[in-house]
Symmetry: C2
Subunit: 194 residues, 2 copies
């Protein structure tokens, strides 16, 4: 969470540069590869990469929006380019704690995919390219995957009290993976999905 004081009761403006998605005022939450053990399908490739370096996989903003159904949380998410074996760098992904709450993303730069799935087994995905908005309905876990060579930058908004459930995905994974085949992204079933 950023240390900056935001006036959620009277409103405020906050900078997120269109060029790289980053704020010069707020402080981002960073996720390095070492914090994602068990989330990529190729465990050997994961350990081999981590033995060499611990890259920043993604960062995003948690501004401390009040936990109220009438409020909104917002910020940017930046997923960096890279792969673990054939699987592209991605966010951990999450359900909302209040499951039936939506999220909206608007892609500012980069190339990628939003993976979505609900507990009923509906699985879908949407392209993340500059100028594409993506509507993630309530009940759908969602994960951003960077399939390009540049940072994937999105602006996101969700309900202030929605909350994040990361544990379910950490345990079960997503039903689909996005992997590189012959230089292009391909969606494949996740053999380790529980």
């Amino acid at each position: 969470m950023s240390a900056a004081p935001f006036d959620w009761d009277r409103g405020f403006a906050l900078d997120f540069a269109l060029a790289d998605g980053l704020s010069r005022t707020a402080v981002s939450t960073k996720r390095r590869l070492s914090q994602m053990r068990g989330m990529y399908s190729d465990g050997a490739a994961f350990e081999a990469l981590l033995a060499k370096e611990d890259p920043l996989v993604y960062e995003f903003y948690e501004l401390g929006a009040p936990d109220r159904p009438g409020g909104l949380a917002f910020g940017t998410s930046v997923t960096y380019p890279g792969r673990v074996g054939r699987e592209y760098f991605m966010t951990k992904g999450h359900f909302h704690t209040i499951l039936d709450t939506a999220e909206v993303y608007y892609c500012l730069s980069g190339q990628g995919v939003m993976l979505m799935e609900n507990p009923e087994g509906d699985v879908t995905q949407a392209p993340l390219t500059p100028g594409q908005a993506v509507y993630v309905p309530g009940r759908f876990a969602h994960r951003s995957v960077n399939t390009g060579d540049t940072p994937l930058v999105t602006f996101f908004v969700f309900r202030g009290d929605a909350g994040h459930d990361y544990g379910t995905i950490e345990e079960k994974g997503f039903r689909n993976l996005i992997v590189e085949r012959d230089g292009a992204p391909q969606t494949v079933g996740n053999p380790r999905w529980k």
Copy 2:
């Protein structure tokens, strides 16, 4: 509302060009000057301008988000440059019907101001410049004002069931106006505010 079919239950992507904010898929709602009679402070300047032309003042997207507290409505808003007398082109502005629901704006291009005020008389404003996000808290009416020479483009998100109350502002106006003085925007009290 757009005729395009959007899958609010399973998610979808929709284009809003970063360059001009407009969608090539969805159809915008357009507000021309003739639809804003009584909303600008200089009535004579309003009638004089309208006698010459009926310019497009702003346009925005109403995608038909379901009326659910767990859903989100989103789109872009484009306010064109211009003035009625000394007062800059602006949106009608609105409260939400469910008053205590917030809205988030992210400015993609242009120069302007977000005017905000609540029924208790708290009045504030925030800059709209490229890369600035603005948090409009629940209870605050809000209006975008274009103080520049190019279209003012924002991406917005609010709760799916929030609704719009335009009537209160049409009747009462905003407490503050943004007018041009010596070539620069200035915030002044609205002498006609009720």
